[in-house]
């Protein structure tokens, strides 16, 4: 992994059009600002991971046949 040391207000470039700026450092917390093209979707890693796992689990669990379900109270 590339390691770069930055100060508050300094930036790094990812390619030509993605800019990551260190906005604030407070204790264990770093606030970053990211400027990226709209086509690049940005996620917090832990959320991306849990959604990925849930998507995979949905695809795998689906080997069971899905039940026919009728909502009670729905029109007959």
């Amino acid at each position: 992994m590339l390691r770069i040391t930055r100060k508050t207000g300094e930036r790094i470039m990812l390619g030509d059009d993605v800019v990551v700026e260190v906005l604030e450092v407070r204790g264990q917390t770093v606030r970053l600002g990211i400027d990226a093209p709209q086509s690049l979707v940005i996620y917090r890693e832990e959320i991306w991971l849990e959604v990925k796992r849930e998507n995979e689990a949905a695809a795998l669990a689906a080997s069971a046949p899905l039940p026919s379900v009728r909502f009670k109270g729905a029109g007959e």
Binding site: K52, E54, A58, A64, P67
Partner: protein, 153 residues
Amino acid sequence: MSLTIESSRFGRVEVDPGSVIEFPDGLIGLTGSRYALLARDPDTPFLWLQSLEDPALALPVTNPHQFFSQFQVEVTDEDAERLGPELSAEVDVYVTVRAAEALEDFVANLKAPILVRSGRGYQVINQAPGCELRAPLFAEVEVETNGSSSSAC
């Protein structure tokens, strides 16, 4: 004109090209960007997102409003831009479903709903508070299945 697709689960399926959804950014963590939305059984509230690129990949989805009366989607400004201007009733909302043996163990992912507009789909992170990654699907609604009935709790 119909389109013939291959599915490990359903075999060779003829689909209406109108059921094809392009996911420019894919589904989160999964490969591929083209899926068909299949309604396999009119008696279930479940649909299938069948990958057109990977016959083995299919996810069951459902309309969350049928199960969760309080369900709402709030998107970030960035996601709103991806979806395009004037979001409204033109957007179909689905959530993935994790099936299980017992109905009580079915869960839906309310945290990452799939928004579909004009043949394009986006899985977004829901900013509305209290949206669970694994929300019990049958917690709120009462349903009948195969002659037996099941209720919440």
